[in-house]
């Protein structure tokens, strides 16, 4: 029933004329024992869906903020298995859907069988694997076949129209639209091409599209939200937790009822 939680969330938001606000946190940054309270804080701030980041030693798609959070988590001795075990214990306390954002190697090392069982037990609705593009997805997809876990795909500015059609075909959960050619957490003044690209992805995709990478304030979230079904904020939220300024999370979330996609 977990995969459907994503669909239900987007359906509800759409019915309400609202967009999804998705928050990323690095599991284990600040101690795994605080994961539950971090998730609670996000829920109470009005977050609709949570991406739970899995720390990795070599995060080539991440900027400094998430890199450093990952290092802190690893220094706390946190592993993917620990995170899944923790989620399994607290899942009944969490009402919003949550997905994992992880590089492929921790999953591969755990083995896909174990990962699948543990992730299902942990109530995980989906998985985003930034270093597994469509061309390398078969192994992961086979491993998760018949499970309740959606594989959430990414589309970028450089994704061709033809490839975009392949990516959105049979896609699950939502499409993660990467707004920059770069890593997470960059400073951005989004250019016109970004909005054009979001419109392009939105036109092709049969499932919701959410924009992420470099979104760090409410204005940006509103602007990107106008073209999509939701926005993802990562580095900014990781930084807020690290600095203990959790009250500021709700200030990032746009007011209800943004304009619909034109």
């Amino acid at each position: 029933m977990t995969k459907e939680k994503i669909e239900e969330t987007f359906k509800r938001l759409s019915d309400e004329g609202d967009k999804a606000f998705i928050a990323y946190i690095m599991a284990g940054d600040g101690g795994l024992e605080n994961l539950e309270s971090q998730i609670k804080t996000l829920e109470e701030s009005g977050v609709d869906l949570i991406e739970i980041g899995i720390p990795f030693s070599d995060p080539a798609a991440d900027g400094p903020v998430i890199q450093e959070a990952g290092i802190r988590a690893l220094e706390n001795g946190v592993s993917l298995l620990d995170i899944l075990n923790t989620l399994a214990k607290i899942k009944d306390e969490i009402s919003v859907p949550y997905v994992l954002m992880t590089y492929y190697n921790p999953v591969y090392k755990l083995t896909l069988d174990v990962f699948r069982n543990k992730a299902e037990e942990a109530g995980v609705s989906g998985i985003i694997v930034p270093d597994v593009p469509l061309d390398e997805e078969a192994e992961l997809k086979n491993g998760l076949r018949g499970s309740d876990i959606a594989i959430i795909r990414l589309a970028t500015l450089t994704t061709s129209d033809e490839r975009l059609r392949e990516i959105t075909r049979d896609a699950e959960g939502f499409i993660y639209a990467v707004t920059v050619n770069g890593v997470t957490g960059g400073q951005n003044n989004y250019k016109e091409e970004v909005y054009d690209n979001l419109e392009r992805i939105k036109r092709v995709s049969p499932i919701p599209v959410c924009a992420g990478f470099g979104v760090s304030n409410k204005t940006q979230a509103e602007q990107l939200g106008a073209y999509t079904d939701g926005v993802i904020v990562g580095s900014k939220i990781v930084k807020i937790f690290y600095q203990g300024r959790e009250r500021e999370i709700k200030d990032l979330i746009p007011d209800k009822k943004l304009t619909r996609v034109k």
Binding site: S57, D58, N105, P106
Partner: protein, 403 residues
């Protein structure tokens, strides 16, 4: 079985290894690179330019040298050294740097980036950037940069900008990550010259291609000198560009044993090692599936080798494949064995080898006496040891070579 050992399939897979595990943003750039590479490979003008620079700029072909005194001292197989150390810039790295540098121009790009551990690939890239008029940035772990100050200056002297990477363990693997991050942001006008037979498709295939000149020459040379193929072909292996270049044209020769020699560091029984095949497991990092040193949670481990050029947790995907199929064997030598070999070649032949190459040499020194006198070993002397002299001096002073 050997006939089944092929270059990668269209998806860049060597058996289960290789592939292109990269961010979606990079997919289009890798496709562009592959298309350009296939075109260049079929373009006689490109080949002509590559061959010309290898000859007149690098100084190829370099000799296959019969190490008579070493052979006699060891009393076993005849030892031949493929003298990559005589190349311009002092190692095999320049072969690939020239190939990819020309490819950069072929694609109409004006800038190159590279990662470097000890600085050899960084120097090679800075060199060809100067030669070809390309702007060059080299990413180097801050720890490595500190250990190799002279090479940092050398790169700067050649007009490159050296970016010290503080992230992670501040060594080679982190320099690779940071170069990847930079590349995603600048792929429009920048090519990333990966220095080893690593990374996402088509890099491992391409690097092999540009380095295969080593075995192409060596194979002809040994046939000319001995009238037959060697019994063993030996090369040191970190990421694996020298070894794959040394193996390439011998892979189809079933009678030739191929041996890659990994850096065991302080010993493969310790955690201070870089022996990815002998101690590692299969995983995915830096764009490819390969053997690598990782913990049970799938985190890459910090590595150690006296030779910075071998101090890397992974190994090129084709080597993983050659290992799995049994076509190549992967041995190892530790720091002390490499140091002893470093001295041995210096004193027996008057050739100071790179510490990387000294690992292959340590294996040869161990193995040659067990073989018959009519057997032949061809070893890649991948680089010269000038860059290591200071380090060896310091280590020797500490008395670390004795036990």
């Amino acid at each position: 079985m050997i006939n089944n050992i092929k270059s990668p399939n269209e998806a860049g897979k060597f058996g289960i290894f290789g592939g292109a595990y990269v961010a979606e943003s990079l997919v289009a750039t890798l496709e562009e690179l592959e298309t350009a590479y296939r075109q260049a490979k079929a373009d006689p003008e490109f080949q002509k330019e590559f061959d010309y620079l290898l000859k007149d700029y690098v100084g190829r072909e370099n000799p296959l040298y019969y190490a008579r005194r070493l052979t006699e001292k060891l009393g076993g197989a005849k030892i031949y050294l493929k003298r990559e150390d005589l190349n311009h810039t002092g190692a095999h790295k320049i072969n690939n740097a020239i190939g990819q540098g020309l490819l950069t121009k072929y694609m109409g790009k004006t800038k190159v980036i590279a990662e470097t551990g000890a600085g050899q690939h960084g120097v090679a890239t800075a060199t060809i950037a100067a030669l070809l008029g390309l702007e060059c940035k080299v990413f180097m772990g801050a720890k490595d940069a500190k250990r190799q100050e002279l090479n940092v200056f050398r790169m700067e002297l050649l007009g490159a900008e050296v970016i010290r990477v503080e992230q992670g363990t501040a060594t080679l693997k982190d320099a690779v990550n940071e170069a990847m991050r930079y590349w995603v942001e600048h792929m429009d006008d920048t090519h990333y010259i990966i220095g080893s037979a690593l990374g996402p498709h088509p890099f491992p295939e391409m690097v092999k291609d540009f380095q295969s000149i080593i075995s192409k020459e060596a194979r002809n040379q040994i046939i000319e000198k001995e009238g037959r193929l060697p019994d063993q072909v030996v090369a040191c292996i970190g990421g694996g560009s020298n070894a794959i270049g040394m193996f390439a044209d011998f892979i189809a020769d079933e009678t030739v044993d191929l041996i890659g020699v990994e850096a065991a560091g302080k010993g493969i029984e310790t955690n201070e090692t870089a022996a990815a095949i002998n101690k590692g497991t299969v995983g995915i990092a830096h764009g490819a599936k390969m053997h690598m040193l990782q913990d049970e949670d799938g985190q890459l481990l910090a590595t150690h080798s006296i030779s910075a050029g071998l101090d890397y947790p992974g190994i090129g995907p084709e080597h993983s494949y050659l290992h799995d199929t049994g076509r190549a064997k992967y041995a190892y030598a530790n720091d002390k064995e490499a140091l002893r070999a470093f001295y041995e070649l210096s004193r027996t032949e008057g050739i100071i080898p790179a510490l990387e190459s000294s690992h292959a040499l340590a294996y040869v020194i161990k193995t040659a006496p067990t073989l018959d006198k009519d057997q032949i070993i061809v070893m890649s002397l991948s680089g010269r040891g000038d860059k290591d002299v200071e380090l060896v001096k310091n280590v020797t002073k500490e008395g670390n070579t004795d036990d």
